[in-house]
Symmetry: D2
Subunit: 337 residues, 4 copies
């Protein structure tokens, strides 16, 4: 950490900060600049509390130096983490496509979708049984019945299942059915839930909050990792900006940036990231070209009657076309689909 003193800070103020730093068991390296004195704080292996120093008299601000995430950091874990899921590997050479409806609505809807996406080459099946909805009057999902349908679909088509878990107390229930536990964007900083999935025996797909920085996403991954679950998959799904044409603004730069900062696999959700089905295919191609390890895409056999997020779902034929178009892009960057 670095402490930047105010312009005109007194010697006593500087001495007080140095004393406090030493009291914290750290070393203080003072550099007297033209306009500001700067104090480098050399730590003792434990996380430092910036705010304590920030409130001291004469301090203008503090600047963190070390990254606040450790287990998620590539600095301490240079090799890519590959997460195995019932025969599928996320984070390796193959680009993994997870497809399915936003919400599980019925056996027919799910089976039709499952067969279609499997036929087009998807590697995993997604579908929501518990749905976070902005309005208390919207469809909230089928609950455990939805989980049972997902398990049935897995039996029938042989694709591993990804589904969202919304509460710590339903983690055990969802774990009995799902291959991957999804943490939705609105729950990225639901720390009780992160703690619970951190102790679960399933890989976790952690979606970036619409309001969250890349660093905060990595800190949430750190919660899961620090509770013992090392199988974390990160997901960029668009952030909130002032642009109204799209529902969110997909942060494409976050893909290579995350690949630099962390060893964890990174997937992209172009369906939520744009909110418009006719932007999904080009943005999916872009995500692969940018280095994403996978995609998560909404597919619905009849999006005009979907109970959730129909506007961003692809029909099966559009999804088939998307998969076909992705193939050469994956090859162009030396990967497989």
């Amino acid at each position: 950490m670095i402490v930047i003193m105010k312009h005109g800070a007194s010697r006593a103020q500087i001495a007080n900060v140095v004393a406090r730093v030493e009291q914290m068991g750290c070393q203080a390296d003072v550099s007297q600049g033209e306009e500001h004195t700067v104090i480098g704080v050399v730590g003792n292996g434990r996380p430092l509390d910036r705010e304590q120093l920030e409130r001291m008299s004469g301090v203008e601000r503090t600047v963190p130096v070390a990254k606040p995430f450790k287990r998620a950091s590539r600095d301490f874990h240079p090799l890519d983490t590959v997460v195995p899921i019932n025969g599928v590997q996320i984070g390796g050479e193959q680009i993994v496509v997870i497809a399915g409806p936003c919400a599980v609505e019925s056996s027919e809807q799910l089976m039709e979708t499952a067969h279609a996406v499997k036929g087009s080459g998807a590697h995993m099946l997604r579908g929501g049984a518990f749905k976070p909805r902005t309005s208390p009057y919207s469809f909230q999902g089928l609950g455990e019945e939805g989980l049972r349908l997902l398990a049935e679909a897995r039996r029938e088509v042989g694709l591993p299942i990804v589904t969202e878990v919304m509460e710590p107390q339903t983690v055990p229930l969802v774990t009995t059915y799902a291959d991957v536990l999804q943490i939705g964007a609105r729950n990225m900083q639901n720390y009780a839930l992160l703690h619970a999935v951190g102790e679960a025996q399933r890989p976790v797909l952690l979606k970036r909050g619409m309001m969250s920085t890349v660093e905060e996403l990595l800190m949430s991954a750190e919660y899961v990792l620090s509770h013992g679950n090392h199988r974390v998959i990160l997901c960029e799904r668009g952030i909130r900006t002032f642009e109204p044409y799209t529902r969110f603004t997909l942060d494409i730069s976050a893909v290579p940036l995350l690949k630099q900062l962390t060893h964890l696999p990174v997937v992209v959700d172009p369906s939520h990231g744009t909110g418009k089905w006719d932007l999904v295919e080009p943005v999916a191609r872009a995500a692969v070209a940018a280095g994403a390890d996978g995609l998560i895409i909404e597919v619905h056999p009849h999006p005009e009657v979907a109970l959730s997020d129909g506007a961003q779902s692809l029909k099966p034929d559009k999804f088939a076309a998307l998969m076909e178009g992705l193939q050469p892009v994956a090859e162009a960057i030396g990967r497989t689909l």
Copy 2:
């Protein structure tokens, strides 16, 4: 709802939308414009699903007309809601000030703060026992021990207690100690938690998410209201923007806007909203002048050793000065403090 057809939509496409609208039990009023056909959808009293129509062929977009919140809306509840809390009334003539430390750290710290804020005229005491922290390595709160200390402080100084609840399953525990259940900004869309406090027997202080719109805040209030708890207090605490000098950007216009849209009381948190103690006082004055029904302010006897958010906490003497300065502003707009 209004459906705007694409430029050049065919008669068949328009007829299909009209047929679907009627099938939904609604009436379709078609207006043929110069460039676009517009279809007014007159509802049947139930919420409409925009996405179903949005995915139909020839549709460009849909526009909601009715507000999605009902119980929270002033349209259907014109009179101000006043929430009584052990003798304090939020939403009436008096501006209510809730003060205390970010986190409860010890009996000494809490009692010292409680006496100080009571002495300066605060009406309620705040303090966190369960703390949402970005880092798994930061202080996470004292838990139930913190709740016990809060109850002890209430006994000693006679101020009602506001404290945060982070998980559905701890709602009963927190309810046994607290006078008001606080939902933090990161949990504004934790629907399981909203459901749980909606069934609790305590008023709820609902903080706006840092990337949530005013409408989403009201939709989250609607969750609580729709589960039977009518005592909801809204809190503006700053939203995330590109401005880096302050931790968040306090949305002052949200105060009069909320007072127009809803009958619920609105309080402002200038401590989190700015992240800097030396901006708290002017922003607190601004909030009162803009029509806020209350303030929630962090006070710590020794902010330079605080375990959480010291940078934005006021020392007791600064808080006393703030209260003194607020008095004439409250009077200037015809309210009391």
Copy 3:
């Protein structure tokens, strides 16, 4: 400036940075931390180029220490600047209210407004002769005829005139008519224009860009100041965020923040900052309570037929009520209106 080296940077990389720093005529203070080496760069009085060091091998990032604005900084000019404008003083004890129509439309409209705002106690008259409009098909202002009408209104009611200038080559023309040259939000980083008004003999009202940071606003002020014009008035007018209910999000914290960072006067524009006339009064009160030195408010005798920004204009009677309501708020914080 501080240089933070990458985790694992080699001795040679560190030595190279030190050598480059010394080559730039600066001194390098090396602090060897646990995870990162940090190099404090002590300057030689000239601005440092961060990017040169940022591109060197082994460098993770650089952190600026000194503020990039000097003439605008309170560090080097602790006393408040008061800008005198034909008998009005902005930046002193009195809160200065600038009122008038968004655009000058006709002699009748302007005179009616001028008499009304003068009668309610406004101190200056605003009105646009040259209008920046998003659409090439919208009313672009009356041009020089508008300036003539403004000058006539000044003669008749005796209020100094504020009007926008949009191009460097019209600065001389506008200067012959106006008392204050306004730089609009879209032109805050039009450097040719800043240069031109920096050489003009009139005070400048510089509006913050809708996506500009406080620091960038101060850097734009620095352009004007560095070209010799010391009479700069800053204006907070709302920034762009994700919130759609209001046209912009007025950054109320920027008012006390600017008063800390700079000696220049700060005014607030609640009309553009909210985009809704019925939010103007509470936000104007908030701005005064937060410490603004003035307000700039749109008033139109018949806003429903205004050629520009009618939705945010007050009718004269609402403006009169606003002025009456501001009086006690100004007094409450020890100022006059």
Copy 4:
């Protein structure tokens, strides 16, 4: 346009709006909903003024229906516009790469870069002679001397030249040297400048403002088009968000969205869009995969001594690698490089 009346608007208020609409020469289609009356306004071929109706008594808000851009809209010009520039075609099958230094610094720097980028397959040369800089103390460009060097480089390597013009009065000067006039992000809404380049005899490369929506970008293009210059190339270069790791957030979805909304060519600037050289290559690949018609990339032979934006410039060897990697991506989507 659609007018949405307030809940509980009176018959008289509705009748007044209808009367005003008819007075504007338009037709009013009234649809009486459950909670709100909605009035469809059928226009008369001229742009409608929403704000006039928005200010009327009983009106809640208005919603635009027709797109405000006409000449730029694909609705009225379905075929792609291809802009020819001295043998290069932007907007056709070939992806056009524009490369060169941020600022022209010297003959050596420019010639070395020009030869390098030409050798790696770039189609055009970029370089700034007039530089918009946030700080008045930063290097502002070589001015006309820079233009002369660019013309010399064109003679020597045979690549057309793109360079920025910052003021209306220098448009004629820049036109005598440049093949394409670039409008920088900070000038996207400098209407005097848009007017001037709209009358110039050169194609215009119009960069999206960091604060501008896609619709505003198209409205600025409309300014240029409406003044007679039909050769407009749009450029996505990143928007401002809360994410601090990258300098801007490149809006990848804007590429396919613009291709839907407009017939104009779209290029992407991954250098400014990310601000970090090591993100340029993956983001450039993503832009091509998303359907961009071209790229504009900063290349500098010695970025660590660049006078401007060194942190985001590629060295010639990295640029060569980028071009090599782009080739298969372009082919994968059926285009050439």
